[in-house]
Every structure is written in structure tokens, then in C-alpha cells.
């Protein structure tokens, strides 16, 4: 994977108002916040479906990869980006509905079965293999849609990539939109009600099945958008990029406590920043390993996550 940081750290970005070391740290932190915001979108998607079904969709990464690769294929076939990108994102939502139907719903019929772990993982591996067999397992170039990876702007003396800035803006907008949806709309409240107590929600007249399907569509759309944004930053997609991304999203979700939008956002950004700092000062090879180190530390000392509350039930 090409490291986009090397681009923003080119000599012309240096020696302005701030000295090199400061510039370097700020650029790392900024890059971390941006990729972290993308992890937050993935984390939010995983959380949404976790809330409504108490399952984790381990196929999510491969689903978003399939959608991204399909987008590349559509662009390659000459379809305009304004059509191909939304279609790819909708495809991610649609695939998520299929995943719920075939890999999750049947397995929830048998009580406390954990079969969904195997079925969602299996679906993900199948898609990864399927895409590899059709497109090959090499990285495929993903064309720049809005900004070129070399575009940059000067923010308070720090050179920041326009692409990163756009990614950050869009991610934050989506997270705010999700929060408003969950708080202010009837369907958003229904998602929360189903996650608290599906039986009580059904008795309130809420069509629980439809709310679950909705949560999967939303999860897919968020993941689809995240996939396109990551593809913009890295410039390529390959059959395994989705899985890596999902793992990072999962760590961000656990980090944030899986309870709410703020948790996903803070978890994602914290993970992104730590990762980039490790990448900048230790080695980029250690970057992704960091995610797992964080996961282990969190599970050991604060399993409910930074923002999580312990599940409480009244007797």
C-alpha cells in the first residue's frame, strides 16, 4: 500500500512558519484524524447492525471491497463517476441486505447460536475469493474523483492534503447526520428502541424486521462511502483491503465502546492518530499491528470501551 504521507511530507511543505519537527507531528496527527474519521464510519456501520441484531458482521469489509471494485469496473467501462460511485455505494447497501438475509437471520432462529461468526466471516472470504478470481488479486488503480493526491492547502502553516481534508469533512458530516437520524427521526428512535429491547419495540408497533434491514442498509452505505474514500487516499483497491479496513473499524468500535456515535468517532480518531504517530516515529510496518495491540489493551483494562457503559438490566 502506497503511503500517502510521503506525499504531504515533500520538501515544499517544510520550513514555513513552524519548524520541521512540529510540522511533521502536526501532519501525522492530521492524517491520523482523517483516516480515523473513516474508521469511525466503518465502526458506526458495525455498531448499527450490532445494536439491532447483537451480531457482528465480519463480512462487512469484503462487502465494501466488492462494492469498491465494482465501482472501479464501472468507471473503467466508461460510466461517469457521478453515476458509478453512487451505484457502488448502493451496491454496498444491497449486499448488506443479502448478508443479513443469508448469513445472519437464519442463524438467529436457533436461540443463542454463535453461528453468525462463521457465516459472516465465510461470506466475506467467499466474496474476497470471488473478486480475486474475476479481477485478480493485484491492486487495481482507483481514479481520483475530486482532488488529486498531490493537491494540498495551507492550514495555519501546516501543509494538508486536500483529499484528506475532504475525507475528514465528509466523514464528520456523515457522523453528525447519523446522530441526528438516531435522535430526531422516528426510524432512528426505532433503531435505538430495537437495540434496547426488540420485544418491547414490537409491542410499540415498530416493524422490527424492517428496522433491522434498515440498519444493514445504513451500515452498507456508510461502509461503501468509507471504501471509496480510502480508495481515494490510497489510489488503489485490492481484494483484501476491505477486510483490513473492517478490522480497523472493529477496533475503533471496541475502543469507543460500541454504544453511540461519539464513541465510534472518538475511537476511530484515537486509533487513526496513534497509528499514524507509530507509523511516523517507529515504522509504517508497525502501523497496523498497533490496532491489535490497542484492541488487546482495551479488552484487558476497559472492555466496555472509552465511552461504553456497562450493560445494566433491572430485575
Amino acid at each position: 500500500m502506497r503511503d500517502p504521507l510521503t506525499l504531504t511530507l515533500s520538501p515544499e511543505g517544510r520550513g514555513k512558519k513552524k519548524d520541521d519537527a512540529m510540522q511533521f507531528v502536526l501532519q501525522l496527527v492530521f492524517a491520523g484524524v482523517c483516516v480515523g474519521a473513516v474508521y469511525a464510519l466503518i465502526a458506526m456501520g458495525l455498531s448499527l447492525t450490532f445494536w439491532t441484531t447483537r451480531t457482528l458482521n465480519f463480512g462487512q469489509g469484503s462487502l465494501l471491497m466488492t462494492a469498491s471494485v465494482a465501482t472501479v469496473a464501472m468507471l473503467g467501462a466508461g460510466m461517469p463517476a457521478a453515476l458509478a460511485v453512487p451505484l457502488g455505494i448502493l451496491l454496498a447497501g444491497g449486499l448488506m441486505v443479502v448478508a443479513e438475509r443469508i448469513a445472519i437471520r437464519p442463524l438467529l432462529k436457533s436461540g443463542d447460536s454463535m453461528g453468525w461468526v462463521v457465516s459472516t466471516l465465510g461470506l466475506g472470504i467467499f466474496l474476497q475469493g470471488f473478486v480475486s478470481s474475476v479481477f485478480g488479486s493485484q491492486a487495481i488503480a482507483f481514479p481520483s474523483l475530486v482532488f488529486d493526491s498531490l493537491d494540498s492547502v495551507d492550514v495555519a502553516g501546516v501543509q494538508v492534503s486536500s483529499q484528506y481534508l475532504a475525507v475528514l469533512g465528509l466523514s464528520l458530516t456523515l457522523m453528525v447526520a447519523m446522530e441526528l437520524f438516531l435522535r430526531r427521526s422516528a426510524w432512528g428512535r426505532a433503531v435505538r428502541a430495537v437495540s434496547h429491547d426488540a420485544d418491547a419495540a414490537a409491542l410499540a408497533g415498530i416493524p422490527v424486521r424492517r428496522v433491522i434491514v434498515l440498519s444493514f442498509v445504513a451500515s452498507g452505505v456508510l461502509a461503501g462511502i468509507a471504501g471509496v474514500m480510502v480508495a481515494q487516499i490510497t489510489g488503489t483497491v485490492d481484494p483484501s483491503f476491505g477486510f483490513n479496513l473492517m478490522v480497523l473499524g472493529f477496533v475503533a468500535a471496541v475502543f469507543g465502546g460500541m454504544g453511540n456515535t461519539a464513541g465510534a468517532l472518538v475511537g476511530g480518531i484515537a486509533l487513526g492518530v496513534i497509528e499514524k504517530l507509530v507509523g511516523g516515529y517507529v515504522s509504517t510496518a508497525a502501523e497496523h499491528g498497533m490496532a491489535f495491540a490497542i484492541l488487546m489493551v482495551i479488552l484487558a483494562i476497559r472492555p466496555q470501551g472509552l465511552f461504553g457503559r456497562k450493560e445494566f438490566t433491572k430485575v
Partner: protein, 244 residues
């Protein structure tokens, strides 16, 4: 209980069975709730009361039998469809949405059964009815006292003026003075709004005080039935079926 379909109205249950795997929780229960009355369903813990209620509201499937609401067979309808037909069910154990505010709990109950009208007006009526909820409308429901939670549950269940209300152990874990207030409210709902109420209770004495008629469940079967006054006057009843 006579086995007939009333085309005019009411909630009728014929030969209802509920099974959880090999366990038979409800075994051939037939009963009829007369419109505008309170029917008490009594029985010890594990007699099948909650399973009967859940089968009526659709949370658990009936393995046999038929449930009709105003003459319509609702046995196969999903629970949210039954809710939209004016059948409301307040679950046992104060199951409300703990992390949502009082107002959000009411809003969730309102949104998907909305047949028009103003939520604001309905919510204000709830706060008039239970003034102690008014200052707590933005408080997470999980932080309320048991009595206040029961008030929220009842208000949410009644927010659309349902014609039928299933209440599962509303007195459970509440202080006697609160129980009196809650039962006073239940009685007034039936009297003033004409709501048909099925009331599950382990504490027979409280339930029979407000009910018009009652039946006693034992191991999933109806073993006694009749006017509430008659059941209340029967000293053998509590000793035999209710465990004191």
C-alpha cells in the same frame, strides 16, 4: 367457557397452546374478555400467565388454537400489526427503554401506531395524569423509581387509546401505596375509556379488587373461572392454586 365466535367484538381465545421445545407452557386455554371489563388472570409463578399474554400479543407463536380480536383472526399476525389494531401489551418486569428519556419512550410508543393527532397534546395529557413525570421528561427512564417507570409504561401502552390492554404483573416490586395508585389508574382507564383489560397477577387479592371477572391458571390450564367477587370470596382459591 363457551366455544363461540363473537362477531361484534371482544378478545377471544380458543384452545390456545404455547410450547417452548418440549415444554408446554399453555395447554388449551380458552377465554373471552368481555368488552369494557377487566379480566384477572391469576396463578402462581410459572403457571403460564406470561406465556399466555405473549401469545395474545404475538411475541411467542401459538402452537395451536385461535385468537380473535373483534371477530378477526389475529393468530398469525406479527406483534407490531396487532399493536396497530389497538392491542397493547405492557410487559412484566418494567421493560421500558432505559437509556431513552421519558419523553422519548412516549414518542417511540406513539410514532409507529400514529393515526394522526398531535403528540404534544397526548404527552401533555400524560404529564397531567402523572404530574411527577412532568419535571422528569428529559430524564433517562432507567433513572426513575419503580413506580414512575410503571407510570411511563402504562402511559406508553395507552398512548393511542387502545381498545385492549394486556398488563403483566403491574404490581411487581412496587411499594403498596404505589400499587394502590397504579390499580386506581387501571380501574379508571377501564371505566372512563372503556378499555378491555386483561390483568395478570400473582397477588390475587389486589387484582380481584379491580377486576370484573377472573380465571385461575395452573400448569398452563384454566382451572377456575367466574365473577371476580365469587373468586375473591373463595377461601380455598388462594390456598389451592396461588400458594398463599
Amino acid at each position: 367457557m363457551p366455544d363461540r365466535i363473537n362477531p361484534v367484538g371482544g378478545l377471544e381465545i380458543h384452545g390456545l397452546e404455547v410450547r417452548y421445545g418440549p415444554v408446554e407452557a399453555v395447554r388449551g386455554v380458552s377465554l373471552r374478555a368481555e368488552p369494557g371489563t377487566i379480566t384477572a388472570i391469576l396463578g402462581a409463578n410459572g403457571a403460564g400467565k406470561s406465556s399466555l399474554m405473549k401469545a395474545i400479543s404475538g411475541l411467542v407463536p401459538a402452537t395451536a388454537g385461535r385468537i380473535t380480536l373483534d371477530g378477526d383472526d389475529i393468530t398469525r399476525l406479527p406483534p407490531h400489526e396487532r399493536a396497530r389494531r389497538g392491542l397493547s401489551h405492557a410487559l412484566e418486569g418494567r421493560r421500558l427503554f432505559h437509556r431513552m428519556t421519558v419523553e422519548e419512550n412516549l414518542k417511540v410508543a406513539w410514532d409507529f401506531r400514529n393515526r394522526g393527532g398531535s403528540f404534544r397534546a397526548v404527552a401533555d395529557r400524560v404529564y397531567d395524569q402523572f404530574p411527577m413525570l412532568a419535571p422528569r421528561r428529559q430524564t433517562p427512564a432507567g433513572m426513575l423509581s419503580g413506580g414512575q417507570q410503571q407510570m411511563v409504561i402504562l402511559s406508553a401502552a395507552l398512548i393511542h387509546e387502545p381498545r385492549y390492554l394486556l398488563l403483566d404483573e403491574p404490581s411487581l416490586g412496587l411499594a403498596p401505596v404505589i400499587v394502590q395508585q397504579i390499580f386506581g389508574f387501571i380501574e379508571s382507564v377501564c371505566r372512563e375509556r372503556g378499555t378491555t383489560i386483561l390483568l395478570c397477577e400473582q397477588v390475587a387479592a389486589i387484582a380481584l379488587r379491580v377486576a370484573h371477572s377472573g380465571c385461575v391458571l395452573r400448569r398452563g390450564q384454566v382451572v377456575r373461572g367466574g365473577p371476580a367477587a365469587e373468586l375473591a370470596a373463595d377461601p380455598a382459591l388462594s390456598a389451592a392454586y396461588l400458594g398463599g
